[in-house]
């Protein structure tokens, strides 16, 4: 039959690993995941109201669907529940990181890990990685990318504001470089966890 295991994990950045020049924390929020596996997640977690949330849910769901090896677990359901504890900017990127860590924690077979990186462009074209809420508001454009761990390909992208083609390529390159930090952080935190037990 179905086994349902609820796994809750809190991962906090202890060492100075960050995803941007600011040295901001990579705090992952509290997340919970029910361990039922399905080739296609059973719709989105309908705990949020509003159209903007639905759109965000779909982005996260589609990114997870692209990496999870669903064919190995037919007729099962994965529900990823993301609870926002505090929003200090770069929310979608943080949700993606949390979702990835939760899937790893649950032991869901995936073809790659993924991470979310946010880029903000201000009015004179300066690039800022992992912007705070204030920086996001004042920025001319905010771009959020989800990148995979194998070849740093672009899995998901959503953008706000106007920007040029060259700026997009610059942001993508910066995000790819930053994603290395995030993946290293994943590896380190997993190593720390499993070395204790």
């Amino acid at each position: 039959m179905e086994e349902s295991m609820q796994i809750e994990t809190k991962v906090r950045a202890e060492s100075g690993t960050e995803s941007g020049p600011r040295g901001a924390s990579c705090t992952l929020r509290h997340f919970a995941c029910e361990q039922n596996l399905l080739s296609r997640p059973d719709g989105s977690a309908s705990f949020l109201q509003g159209v903007a949330e639905k759109s965000r849910e779909r982005l996260i769901r589609n990114t997870c669907e692209a990496v999870v090896l669903g064919a190995l677990h037919p007729r099962t359901s994965i529900t990823v529940v993301l609870q926002v504890i505090s929003d200090a900017g770069s929310l979608l990127a943080c949700c993606l990181n949390a979702a990835c860590m939760a899937l790893v924690d649950a032991g869901v077979p995936m073809r790659a890990l993924f991470c979310g990186v946010t880029c903000a462009l201000d009015s004179d074209g300066t690039l800022m990685l992992d912007p705070t809420a204030k920086q996001e508001k004042e920025a001319r454009a905010v771009l959020t990318f989800a990148l995979d761990s194998v070849e740093r390909k672009l899995l998901m992208s959503t953008t706000k504001g106007l920007y040029s083609d060259t700026e997009l390529q610059q942001c993508l390159a910066a995000a790819q470089a930053a994603s290395q930090h995030v993946f290293r952080f994943y590896r380190e935190s997993l190593q720390r966890r499993y070395s204790k037990s």
């Binding site: 719709g43 989105s44 159209v51 903007a52 639905k54 759109s55 779909r58 982005l59 996260i60 769901r61 589609n62 990114t63 997870c64 669907e65 692209a66 771009l143 989800a146 990148l147 995979d148 070849e151 390909k153 672009l154 899995l155 998901m156 992208s157 959503t158 953008t159 706000k160 504001g161 106007l162 920007y163 040029s164 083609d165 997009l168 390529q169 993508l172 390159a173």
Partner: protein, 276 residues
């Protein structure tokens, strides 16, 4: 024989065509379906348009009403888009509250309006803090054969260009609005955002303007919205297989070409409507 193979192995059937760099309906990988647009056909709406992208048909109707401006932006009006995907357009939808695809499409259109600044919301204000125009944009899909986002964006743009708002004066004594229906003016459309959608097949091939079948078989989709200066208003890639930077660059150049095609079509349509 071919029909049987198509039912049993749709993906293999498609791959055979893609290997020859074409698609079952005879198009090339970078070719759009025939686009037709009809403007101003709905008499009861303040602005309207009908766009057909092959079989995909979207009709947009815009109604302007009065409303109080938001308290945090007293000199701005509202533009409220709503995409309606009903069982009429495809067997996939059920009647009732808007499903996920409709909500995502509505959010996408709202983002395009916001990001591209197609209309300055300040233009919609009549009296700061008291009265402003609210433009309700209803996009109704009559036939869903894939690539709904491109069709909706185009329909919205054409309808907004068609909107005529009457002149409104606030009478100081009675503080009521006086509408002069005889004097109407067009909206000031600042940019022309055009959406180009791609479907990703087998993680490598990119095809433009997917039909509904192609959307189902694809492993990912990508929508790029460009304006006339080649700037991007929106890069919408909701998950799916990964893309490298070089592939993105190809998509960008195709999107810029598409923008020129659409702009030319729209200019022709509006020029032919000029003597009114």
């Amino acid at each position: 024989m071919a029909a049987g193979f198509k039912t049993v192995e749709p993906l293999e059937y498609y791959r055979r065509f893609l290997k020859e760099n074409c698609r079952p309906d005879g198009r090339e990988l970078g070719e759009f379906r025939t686009t037709t647009v009809n403007v101003g056909s709905i008499g009861t709406a303040d602005g309207s348009s009908l766009v057909k992208l092959g079989n995909t048909t979207v009709i947009c109707g815009i109604k302007a009403e009065f409303g109080a401006p938001p308290t945090d932006a007293p000199d701005k009006g509202y533009i409220v888009p709503n995409v309606d995907l009903s069982p009429l357009c495809s067997w996939r939808f059920r009647s009732g509250p808007p499903g996920e695809e409709a909500q995502v499409a509505s959010q996408f259109i709202a983002d395009v309006i916001e990001n591209s600044q197609i209309i300055q919301k300040e233009d919609l204000c009549i009296s700061p803090g008291k009265l402003a125009w609210v433009l309700y944009c209803d996009l109704i899909c009559l036939n869903h054969d894939g690539n709904i986002l491109d069709a909706c964006t185009f329909a919205l743009l054409a309808a907004l260009k068609n909107v005529q708002l009457p002149e409104v004066n606030i009478n100081e004594e009675t503080a009521l609005a006086e509408v002069n229906l005889k004097k109407k003016s067009y909206l000031n459309i600042r940019t022309h955002p055009v959406a180009t959608s791609f479907a990703v097949f087998d993680d490598t091939l990119l095809i433009v303007d997917p039909t509904e079948e192609e959307e189902h078989l694809a492993t990912g989709t990508l929508t790029v919205v460009t304006d006339e200066e080649g700037k991007l208003c929106c890069l919408h890639k909701p998950g799916g297989s990964g893309l490298t930077g070089a592939k993105l660059q190809d998509c960008m150049s195709r999107a810029v070409t598409r923008h020129k095609e659409v702009k030319k079509l729209m200019d022709e349509v509006f020029k032919s409507m000029k003597p009114k």
